[in-house]
């Protein structure tokens, strides 16, 4: 399956050429959001990240489906 990943602010990277903030990832069936994080070697702890799948907040354990749109946003919990 293929998912679309949007990397925000400090997570964007230079080595991907022009399209540094948005990439398509091919993943084996049954992959989770956590697999995306580890494949991208994202060092931030999940509590310092807002994880969003198709517009909804998500947890690393969440399984992914083909065509999912994922946003990885460095941020912290706490309302203000």
């Amino acid at each position: 399956m293929v998912v679309e990943v949007h990397l925000h602010t400090t997570l964007q990277r230079v080595e991907m050429g022009r399209d540094r903030r948005r990439l398509l990832m091919e993943l084996p069936p049954g992959s989770t959001l956590g697999d995306v994080l580890s494949q991208l070697e994202i060092k931030l702890e999940p509590e310092h990240l807002l994880l969003v799948i198709n517009g909804r907040s998500a947890e690393p354990e969440q399984p992914l489906s083909d065509g999912d749109i994922i946003h990885l946003i460095p941020a912290i919990s706490g309302g203000s």
Partner: protein, 573 residues
């Protein structure tokens, strides 16, 4: 014991052109900023009065921690009965005004009365007293030119609060501008028409000259230093700070879009196809590439270590506007389908120079586009419409009167306002906790009253949003009472005892760790009471009807937080 270190209330009467310096009444002593001005307004202004008439008063109140160059804590609250909402208003800004006020020993400045003749004045305040200088020669001048003339006239060391042509015309979207640390007049008490109230009193500008003033006293300097250190460490160690330093608030554009909550084409979609071109990430790239006067990282006040602000330079590196913030990008960008940061920056400069709130005017333009006054995406036409405001044409004045009025006159019902004040750049159908804040805040729709987007919740789920909004509304009303920038909240949230310790050290108080919430609850209680006496009811604590039944792409979300939940937000009262 003097619990506030000798600070006073300065009362300027514009009918008599007089200044009285008074002791702070006992019931005002433990309040500051937003909570203090709510107390003053409730005590002294009839809630049913005409906002632009002689009975309304305009209050400037620095927060409780202002004056010590504590990072990001020198903000002021400016408030009055609002000509936009008809209710109480507190509008918050950074810049140098707060620091000058506390150096002069001002706990609050109250402007009252109204001159009988249509004349313009500059009110000059110093430790020698007040002077009222004729200022008819400044009438009609834009904010930037007015500030330049005033700095020449009064010297480069003063702080200035001033209005532009919008405030002179008493437009309900007119704000009050303050100088930043580089003397650029762009730190704005923008919301709710405070500039119109200052204009109604015949005041073009207030000069705060703190010559031979001094920092307010600290009762226990060592304890203060220690608490300051704890706060600084918590702030600097915070991962969020680097993001705001590098990307500023503009980093929110892609975040909101990711949640399907970026207001687009007059709040008809939560996703903007061209979000990349208005993103904070892209802005940083072009500012670094353009160089010259451009600066992706800039502080609005002395001593701020976060520096979330920026200077937006054009292709030639010359500054177009400073700062360019997310709210303006949302309301004048995606909301109008304008995907050019350069165009948005030029519009932002115009609106600043007119002395207007870019959120309110952006929302009014969105409504105007919906009515067919111009095509979404036509930035040049949008700039022409801003010129109508400058020329004071009826159409220009309509737009300057805000989104609510524009919708009424043009027959549009998709109008994103609560209590007649425009929403900021977070779509409440997608970020429902913020929708609860918009609906219930005594301030009208205002993200600064309680933004919930950073909470780890499902923002599309109506359950639990009211209690989330309640917590955040109380906390920010507390921060607004301290004079702390919301971003200072990152540090205080990580070291909550530092608030208690700073206050106890400065004032020799014995407050507990819940002081932030105590102040916040008191501010909200007073504000609700003012509005109640002004005639507001639960029916005013609602979002506009279209948001209840019109599904918002991309999630087809409607605002479905039950009314009962909205009515429970202030359940401790």
């Amino acid at each position: 014991m003097d619990p506030i270190g000798g600070m006073k209330i300065w009362r300027v009467n514009l009918s008599r052109q007089s200044l009285d310096i008074e002791d702070v009444p006992e019931t005002w002593q433990y309040l500051g900023g937003r909570s203090l001005l709510a107390r003053v307004l409730l005590d002294e202004v009839p809630p049913t009065c005409e906002p632009l008439g002689p009975l309304n008063k305009l209050v400037f109140a620095p927060g409780l921690l202002v004056g010590h160059m504590l990072s990001s804590c020198d903000r002021i609250s400016v408030g009055a009965k609002s000509p936009l909402t008809g209710g109480i208003k507190e509008s918050n800004a950074g810049g140098s005004t707060g620091l000058h006020m506390t150096n002069m020993g001002m706990r609050a400045l109250i402007l009252e009365g109204q001159p009988t003749q249509p004349e313009w004045w500059v009110v000059h305040l110093s430790l020698q007293g007040a002077r009222f200088d004729p200022a008819d020669d400044l009438a009609g001048l834009g904010v930037y030119e007015t500030a330049r003339v005033l700095l020449e006239r009064y010297g480069k060391k003063v702080a200035i609060a001033l209005i532009g042509p919008g405030g002179e015309m008493r437009l309900a979207s007119a704000g009050i501008q303050n100088l930043d640390k580089d003397r650029v007049p762009a730190r704005i008490n923008a919301r709710g028409g405070m500039g119109a109230v200052l204009g109604s009193k015949g005041v073009k500008a207030i000069i705060f000259d703190d010559a031979s003033g001094k920092k307010p006293p600290i009762t226990h300097p060592d304890a203060f230093k220690q608490a300051q250190k704890a706060y600084n460490q918590a702030l600097m160690g915070h991962p969020q700070i680097a993001i705001y330093r590098d990307y500023g608030t503009a980093g929110n554009a892609r975040m909101c879009d990711g949640f399907g909550g970026l207001p687009t084409r007059n709040f008809s979609s939560g996703h903007f196809e061209q979000v990349e071109q208005i993103s904070g990430e892209y802005m940083r790239e072009i500012l670094l590439a353009r160089g010259g006067e451009s600066e992706p990282t800039h502080a609005c006040m002395l001593g701020c270590t976060i520096r979330c602000s920026n200077i937006f330079g054009g292709e030639d590196g010359k500054a177009i506007v400073s700062p360019l913030e997310y709210e303006t990008i949302g309301l004048m960008g995606s909301n109008l389908e304008i995907a050019s940061l350069d165009t948005i920056a030029r519009m932002n400069w115009q609106v600043n120079d007119l002395g207007l709130d870019s959120i309110e005017v952006g929302a009014a333009l969105g409504v105007a586009a919906e009515a067919g006054l111009f095509a979404f995406g036509d930035g040049e036409r949008a700039l022409e419409l801003l010129d109508e405001i400058r020329r004071g044409t009826p159409l220009g004045r309509l737009l300057g009167s805000g989104a609510g009025m524009t919708g009424k006159v043009l027959g549009v019902t998709r109008v994103p306002v609560v209590k007649n004040q425009a929403m900021s750049a977070y779509e409440p159908r997608a970020i429902k906790g913020t929708g609860v804040t918009y609906a219930t805040s005594p301030q009208g729709a205002d993200h600064t009253a309680g933004l919930t987007i950073r909470a780890k919740v499902d923002h599309l789920d109506p359950i639990g949003q009211a209690s989330l909004s309640r917590t955040v509304q109380i906390n920010v009303a507390g921060y607004d009472s301290l004079g702390a920038c919301t971003f200072a909240g990152f540090g205080f949230a990580a070291a909550p005892e530092s608030i208690r310790d700073l206050l106890n050290a400065r004032y020799d108080w014995q407050v507990g760790t819940d002081i932030l919430q105590v102040l916040g609850r008191e501010a909200l209680r007073l504000e609700r009471e003012f509005n109640r006496q002004a005639g507001f009811t639960a029916a005013d604590d609602r979002l506009p009807e279209f948001m209840i039944h019109e599904p918002l792409p991309p999630h087809d979300a409607v605002f479905d937080v039950p009314d009962e939940d909205l009515d429970e937000v202030f359940n401790w009262l």
